[in-house]
Structures are given as C-alpha cells and as structure tokens.
C-alpha cells in the first residue's frame, strides 16, 4: 500500500492551531491532505472520549493541536 493516505481527525484550537492552519492555507504551504479538521474553542475541551470515538468510527489517527 504505497499510496495509502491515512485519515487523521485533527482537533484544532480556534485561537492557536486553527489560525495556524488558516495561515498555512493563506500562505499556500503544502501539506498532506490526510487531516479532517474539527474546530474546538480550546484544546482543553477535547475529552479522551472524543479520541476514542474517532477511532471507533474508523479514523487511522488523531491529532490534537493547541
């Protein structure tokens, strides 16, 4: 599986990483299309349950960025 593209659920903090991701888009930086973004108001809002739920629903990985 050379062209396997993992599905990663990314929990991004509205004020930090989400803005960072936005800036990455605006400045046309290239990054893998593997992440599915979930915007949260703070990365402290992310409960371990959310992570498990993501895995249960078939994601390959989870990224929490704040």
């Amino acid at each position: 599986m050379a062209d396997f593209e993992p599905k990663i659920v990314a929990f991004l903090c509205n004020w930090c990483a989400y803005a960072g991701a936005d800036l990455a888009g605006v400045s046309r930086l290239q990054y893998p299309p593997s992440i599915r973004t979930v915007r949260v108001m703070c990365s402290g809002r992310v409960d371990p349950m959310f992570v498990l739920e993501a895995f249960k629903d078939g994601s390959d990985g989870v990224l929490v960025a704040g």
Binding site: A10, C16, A21, G61, G66
Partner: protein, 163 residues
C-alpha cells in the same frame, strides 16, 4: 495518559498526536501535520472491528471514576499532600497512576469478555490473552465491586456473569 493506554491496548501511541502550534506558526503547523501523517502511515490502516474489545475497555477505563478522580486530584496531592498528610512527588504519583491505568484497563477488558459470553477463566484467557492468574485475581476484584458474579460450577469449571 491516553497515549499510554493506547500502548497498553496495543493500538499504539503513534496514532495519537498532541502538539502546540501558535497562530503565527503556519510552517510549524505544516511540520506537525506531516509528522503525524508519516507516523500514522507507518502504522498502517486502523480497523476498529479488530480492536472492538480494546476500544470498549479503553472507553470504560477513561470514563471510569477511578482514573478521573486520580487525574483530577494529581496537582493537589503532589503539591499539598494527600488526606493522610503524606507528601507525594510527581514521579511516584505517576507510577501509581500508570499501575492503576493498566489494572483498570485489564479489569474492563475482562468485564467486556464476560459480558460477551466468555464466562470461564480459560475462555477469557483465550479471548483476551491475559495471564490466567491475573484474570482470576482481577475477577475477584470485579466480584468485590459488584461488577461480576460467580454463578456456580459447570463441569468443574467456575462460571461468571456480569451484573
């Protein structure tokens, strides 16, 4: 802690990433995403069906009272001491936390196995691969907390059921 649990459960902590990115660091964000993608790619596809038991046990463990209390009390206990006036350093507290995490996880794994109809110790062992002695020991613990009950013998094999 969830990463540690994923390692115990055999899911692999490489699947869970935690990173701090400020809003001005687009380049850093790109690096983080590339890193996460690479390490998840190295682990390959994740099939929730093969990890059904592990995920269920992990969920019970992380939502369970024991660990929530321990994590919530960590700062208080390591800075002000516990109710008996003993002082704990962070390291020894975390050692205990890790042990509790593993124990709770194994207990929940057994609970799940019994619930799904694996009622004898040997049957549970075949399903979840845990050591026979450890299973008996933890079953006794589950009995004490009224999670599991001993329902009798069947062909000289003790049979358990969930409550």
């Amino acid at each position: 802690m969830t990463q540690k649990l994923f390692d115990i459960a055999g899911i692999g902590k490489e699947r869970l990433h935690l990173a701090w990115v400020s809003s001005a660091e687009a380049q850093r964000f790109v690096e983080v995403v590339i890193n996460a993608t690479e390490s998840v790619k190295a682990k390959g596809k994740f099939d929730p069906k093969t990890f059904e038991y592990e995920l269920a046990a992990a969920e019970m463990t992380l939502s369970g009272e024991t660990l929530r209390w321990m994590v919530g009390k960590e700062v208080k206990i390591t800075t002000k001491g516990d109710v008996y006036g003993r002082n704990w350093d962070v390291e020894s507290f975390e050692t205990i936390l890790d042990a509790v995490l593993e124990r709770e996880y194994q207990k929940n794994l057994i609970y799940k196995a019994v619930k799904e109809g694996h009622t004898s110790v040997r049957d549970i062992h075949h399903k979840i691969g845990l050591d026979l002695k450890r299973i008996s020991y933890l079953l006794a613990d589950l009995e004490k907390t009224n999670k599991v009950e001993f329902t009798g013998m069947k062909d000289r094999i003790p049979v358990f059921a969930v409550l």
